[in-house]
């Protein structure tokens, strides 16, 4: 990883707008500015069209011979399939309300990162091929034809969008750039262009069930290790049920939480919570990935990866599915899953919390409940004992992840939980949270090392908001409900607000959770000493000595 400039230099180095018209500016591919391309074997294995080796920095991307026809046909097909696309191509008035809503634009000042212009890249092509005036007047009214530089430009900016939908919230017509980005990525995949950091996990999720391609036995062993760690901290070893038939609940969470710090602590949190509740549940090694890298590729790929959830719930005869903390996973579950792969298998029933008896009527068709809803309900019914004092050494804020915020509407449940398990919870400024939340800057498959500077730029709005509460309220912790956030926010915090740690919601839950028969906690889930505990003990010993 190249050395990053200091934050103030990063911002100072944002170039001003160029004098040239944007139609005349060609995309520039310098190392650090693009994601590595997907490998040919990966694409072949996944039966993606036109797999080939190519290099974004090279002049020739090795597009197939009939690339223009392929892409034009694919575009026309998408227009027939998605009303949203037709509409979003037609009705933008370029009012500019979206411009400074995009974290990529704020961080780079690249005009083509204004959502309106990102969409205009495709709209200019639409004008020429699908509108009367565009055919007649051409460039005068911003229409253009396809050429290889246009393809490069689309690739460049489709992978500088995290599909966070913040622009769509502010758009007076609800034009959703995420929709456009998804479709542009589909078009690029038609001519064999994809990125390694997305397609490799897609391959792994497809064939092993998790994005790193860990085989089932290793997966189980890792989870066992995490259970051992729980025991170290609490004296209780939580059970780790795998592939159990007839369990009431199938639990699915992003596999990143099994492998990567700090997600693993959130995962330990789940283990401890379920153990404490004596929940009748099971993990699955087959459907062990909640996150859906396919949704960064194409609708069909998302469907394909998502299909495993219902298939496994059916095989295991589970009554309903509980979903872990994850961002795009929940966009897919809320807005796509039932449509893709529903209706839910016949063995599944309306989700009812076995502990509180609450029916989750809002999930009556997908039969899939978010863990934050589940836990908030437990807390509301006083089913859990907490010692929030154990989280007193942190002053936490909460990062709303884009997809739960703008694709699901999950805003208050995590806050409800957070308020129950922490004594110090501070919100970031109001235009950067809840439905107006800023992306971590690396969602939708951009969480890759080679574009670290770009990620830090895109993370600028979030980073600044975090630093603001760090300086003003002494915030030293940020909770989130997204596995990608848990991977992307630590470097972001490290860069923009050093000293702030990042964790999932359920890590804090488990830290505060008083389990039946647990040993006195002297450390948190990260096995770091809890401040205050030892002094208390020594003070108590001194007291006894007197």
């Amino acid at each position: 990883m190249a050395k990053l400039p200091a934050p103030q230099d990063l911002l100072a180095s944002r170039p001003p707008f160029q004098g040239e018209h944007w139609l005349d500016i060609k995309p520039d591919f310098v190392p650090g500015g693009f994601c590595y391309p997907a490998k040919k074997e990966t694409m072949e294995l996944l039966h993606m069209p036109n797999p080939h080796e190519w290099d974004p920095a090279a002049d020739d991307w090795g597009l197939p011979e009939n690339w223009e026809q392929t892409i034009c046909d694919a575009f026309a097909e998408r227009l027939e399939k998605h009303r949203s696309l037709k509409l979003f191509m037609d009705i933008c008035v370029r009012c500019g309300a979206c411009a400074d809503k995009c974290h990529f634009f704020l961080g780079t000042n690249d005009p083509k990162n204004m959502p309106v212009l990102r969409a205009e890249l495709l709209r200019s092509l639409y004008r020429r091929d699908h509108t009367m005036l565009g055919k007649l007047l051409g460039k005068t009214i911003g229409a253009r034809g396809w050429d290889k530089n246009v393809v490069k430009e689309l690739f460049c900016y489709a992978y500088q969008c995290t599909e966070c939908r913040r622009c769509s919230l502010f758009c007076p017509y609800g034009i959703d750039t995420a929709e456009i980005t998804m479709i542009v990525r589909e078009l690029l995949h038609e001519v064999g262009l994809g990125t390694h950091w997305i397609m490799d996990p897609v391959k792994n999720c497809s064939f092993t069930g998790n994005h790193l391609g860990i085989q089932p036995h290793s997966f189980v062993e890792i989870v066992e290790m995490l259970a051992d760690d729980c025991e170290t901290v609490t004296g209780i070893r939580p059970k780790t049920p795998f592939n159990q038939k007839n369990a009431e609940i199938l639990f699915i969470t992003p596999s990143g939480d099994v492998f990567a710090d700090p997600g693993i602590y959130t995962f330990m949190g789940y283990l401890m919570l379920f153990h404490e509740l004596d929940l009748d549940y099971t993990f699955s090694t087959y459907a062990s990935e909640g996150g859906n890298f396919g949704s960064f590729t194409s609708f069909n790929m998302a469907k394909k990866l998502n299909a495993k959830m219902y298939a496994e719930a059916e095989r295991l005869n589970a009554k309903w599915i509980l979903g872990g903390e994850c961002g795009h996973m929940w966009r897919v579950i809320n807005q796509y899953m039932d449509t893709y792969n529903g209706p839910a298998p016949a063995n599944m029933i309306l989700p009812v919390s076995p502990i509180t008896g609450t029916t989750f009527t809002n999930a009556s068709s997908t039969k899939m409940v978010h863990i934050a809803e589940f836990t908030a309900d437990l807390i509301h019914h006083n089913k859990l004992n907490f010692d929030p004092g154990r989280n007193d050494h942190i002053i936490t804020t909460f990062h709303d992840s884009c997809n739960p915020a703008r694709g699901l509407g999950l805003l208050d449940e995590p806050r409800y939980v957070l308020n129950a398990v922490c004594n110090n919870f501070v919100e970031m400024p109001e235009n950067t949270i809840r439905e107006q939340t800023f992306c971590c800057g690396a969602g939708s498959g951009l969480n890759t090392e080679e574009i670290m500077e770009l990620r830090m730029r895109a993370g600028m709005p979030r980073g600044n908001a975090l630093r603001y509460v760090q300086q003003k309220f002494g915030v030293n912790h940020m909770a989130c409900v997204c596995a990608i956030d848990r991977a992307t926010l630590p470097p972001l915090a490290n860069y923009w607000a050093p000293g702030v740690t990042v964790s999932g919601l359920h890590e804090l839950v488990a830290n505060a959770l008083v389990m039946k028969g647990e040993q006195k906690r002297t450390m948190d889930l990260r096995q770091e000493d809890l401040p205050g505990v030892e002094e208390d003990e020594s003070a108590a010993q001194e007291g006894e000595g007197e």
């Binding site: 998605h82 037709k86 704020l106 009214i141 609708f299 495993k308 809002n362 068709s365």
Partner: protein, 335 residues
């Protein structure tokens, strides 16, 4: 920008000169009929074109808390889960520009420029709303030319609009405000760097066209006055499909009519189609209830995925090693 200004001036000038030399019927009768027909047919076709594509997924942008647990308060209109909620959301969007009302402006602050603030910025919302409503009122006021007798509501509107009782004929505020709002919207495009960069001829042209319409309209009322009784007789001739001679009406009137016709002709083929489009927007007009009600995708492709059976076949031995329950034990599977 100047190109579109020139174009608008050209259209106005041609109509003005043309009707002065005896082609008034062309600009005053034939063109409006044609324009209105093109406008209606064009917009209907555009809406049918949108409707021909399905909405494969339920993709509302949730602008607040979803409906979930009893003790969590739902944002009923920003994140509706019922038809009524969606109706209210669409109503707020269309009549009050809810989304634009959220608008903020990002600015860098701090001594080294690394702090960001987001000011609430309601100017665009305000002027956009004012523009659309004044335009509507001005259009409704014109019903005094379309009806005999003039309906009561038109008279009421005029009384309210001219309540300041400035001059004779009385000054209608909507006309002035409309012009001011248009100039603001135009000014943004010229003076705001981001907007200047994204603005195309397609953005300036309708603005200039509207400015042209408003200016000619204002002139007809206050300066180069059209003879109102003759104008009404002429317009009633058109709406009753029995056009009368345009003789004696000032050419400026035909410039006004021609510019309006140009707007109608341009409407369905341009961004102005947002008038109909907003109703179709799937991120606004759908309920966030996709976990409760299954949304159907008409082109949903068949399921194709790596099945559990294939998975177990691939990993059976290692799964057995760690004691994972299997559908087929390794020795049996080999048989």
């Amino acid at each position: 920008m100047f190109l579109s200004l020139l174009l608008v001036l050209l259209i106005g000038a041609v109509a003005w000169a043309g009707s002065a030399v005896g082609f008034a019927s062309l600009f005053g009768v034939a063109l409006p009929y044609l324009a209105l027909a093109v406008f209606i047919v064009g917009m209907v076709c555009r809406m049918a074109y949108w409707a021909k594509s399905p909405v494969p997924f339920c993709i509302p942008t949730t602008g607040g808390q979803e409906q979930s647990l009893d003790f969590i308060k739902q944002a009923k209109f920003d994140c509706p889960n019922t038809r009524i909620g969606v109706f209210v959301r669409m109503f707020l969007e269309i009549f009050l520009f809810r989304s634009l009302f959220r608008n903020t402006q990002a600015d860098l602050v701090g001594n080294n420029g690394t702090g960001t603030v987001y000011y609430s910025s309601k100017w665009l919302w305000c002027f956009a709303l004012v523009f659309h409503y004044c335009f509507l009122l001005v259009f409704l006021r014109h019903f005094r030319f379309f009806t005999e007798p003039v309906p009561f509501w038109t008279t009421c509107l005029e009384t309210l609009d001219g309540v300041m009782q400035i001059g004779a004929p009385r000054f209608f505020m909507t006309g002035g405000i409309l012009l001011a709002a248009l100039l603001f919207l135009l000014g943004r495009r010229v003076f705001n760097e981001q907007l200047r960069y994204i603005s195309l001829v397609n953005d300036y042209f309708p603005l200039w066209l509207l400015v042209g319409i408003v200016c000619t309209g204002v002139c007809l009322r206050y300066f180069d006055k059209a003879e109102i009784a003759m104008v009404k007789i002429f317009i009633m001739g058109i709406t009753h499909f029995s056009p009368v001679s345009p003789d004696g009406i000032t050419p400026l009137f035909f410039a006004h009519v021609t510019l309006v016709s140009a707007l109608l002709l341009y409407f369905p083929f341009s961004k102005l189609a947002h008038m109909g489009g907003i109703f179709f927007s799937p991120t606004r007009n759908m309920a966030n209830n996709s976990r409760r009600v299954r949304h159907i995708n008409p082109w949903n492709p068949p399921k194709q995925y790596f099945t559990y059976a294939e998975y177990e076949d691939t990993y059976r031995d290692v799964m057995a090693e760690v004691g994972l329950p299997l559908e087929k034990e390794p020795d049996r599977a080999a048989e």
